[in-house]
Symmetry: C2
Subunit: 207 residues, 2 copies
């Protein structure tokens, strides 16, 4: 059982919140629009609560379910309220043509968020390779990246509790390449697969 | 049935050559070291032939089974001998710490090879997300990227003929992100999976 705060009230907030409540997690929703926050908390059920924007999150894990260009500003705005928290960045910072990232080489939203996060907070990249509807109806693999082993273990427990497989790809510098796998996922849907009912995963050999 | 020339005599040349011969393809091996070329052609069997370094390849598809920093120089050295060929780049241009690429943003070995290839040649990125021993003993998914639909169709037919699944992720700019998936594969082996008996693939939902 994990204790989660989701910042955001959009489709990914709803999808992650739904899975978290089903997994028995304690869930808090935060957002700028109070009526949307209360509406989502009520829709999730399972004791999900409506938090106050900018306050210290109730959850040990804080999922930033925001558009990619909102993540860093919101981490900065929350500031010390995130001290000691595990911040989860799920964003896909795509460029306009969906074949590159909105930022350059050697960084990622996760790494930029870590730069403005308070001391004692850790950032983990996760969930960004998964289409929202696949998270709702499938059992996709969740790839994670981050520098803090304890934070990754907490996120892995959260993911496992949702009935999903968590796979650690390495340190936070790998978040850039997970963002690239987000691009590959979109590329596959437009070229190699022709629909969006899939997720990248891993096939293991016996033996 | 495809007609393939493999430039290189190392482990990946052997693995791809073995699968190609098993799939009934016509296979030619080329390399600087004549004795190694003849040794590999003989080991592959199935009528595999030993070609002459720098000559026009017999295969319609030319697989560059070389270390990453050898691909562009060899494409340049072959020059007009590659006119009309489909050049397959399988390389992983990793940096020394295996968390980034040896080249910068917005390019890939495939794109650099395309710059020096003769007119009428096309470059396709493929196979780079697969460990050699998985290619030998498993049925991994092969992700491909390239700008030329006809060339990709030929490579897809080659891959399918080997009994493997080919998935198109988009244009050649996506080769950079397939190289990133090579990094993720190594990262998974070192962190999330703990062994190398796997390959990245795709899980599809029913319906």
């Amino acid at each position: 059982m994990s204790s989660i705060t989701i910042i955001g009230t959009g489709n990914m907030a709803r999808a992650i919140g739904t899975r978290a409540v089903a997994g028995g997690d304690s869930v808090e929703i935060m957002g700028r629009d109070r009526s949307r926050v209360e509406g989502l908390a009520q829709a999730l059920g399972g004791g999900a609560t409506a938090g106050t924007w900018g306050a210290v999150p109730a959850g040990d894990i804080v999922v930033m379910a925001l558009l990619h260009d909102g993540v860093v500003p919101v981490v900065a705005e929350y500031g010390d309220a995130l001290t000691g928290k595990v911040i989860v960045d799920i964003s896909n910072p795509f460029n306009a043509t969906f074949d590159g990232l909105a930022h350059g080489d050697g960084t990622s939203v996760a790494q930029e968020a870590a730069k403005v996060a308070p001391s004692g907070a850790s950032v983990v990249k996760a969930f960004n390779t998964i289409f929202r509807h696949v998270l709702e109806s499938g059992r996709p693999t969740v790839f994670i990246a981050g520098d803090d082993a304890r934070a990754k273990a907490e996120v892995a427990e959260f993911i496992t509790g949702m009935g999903l497989r968590s796979l650690d790809v390495g340190g936070v510098t790998m978040a850039h390449w997970l963002e690239g796998m987000g691009l590959v996922t979109v590329g596959l849907a437009g070229n190699g697969i022709g629909h969006g009912n899939f997720a990248l995963g891993v096939a293991e050999l016996a033996g």
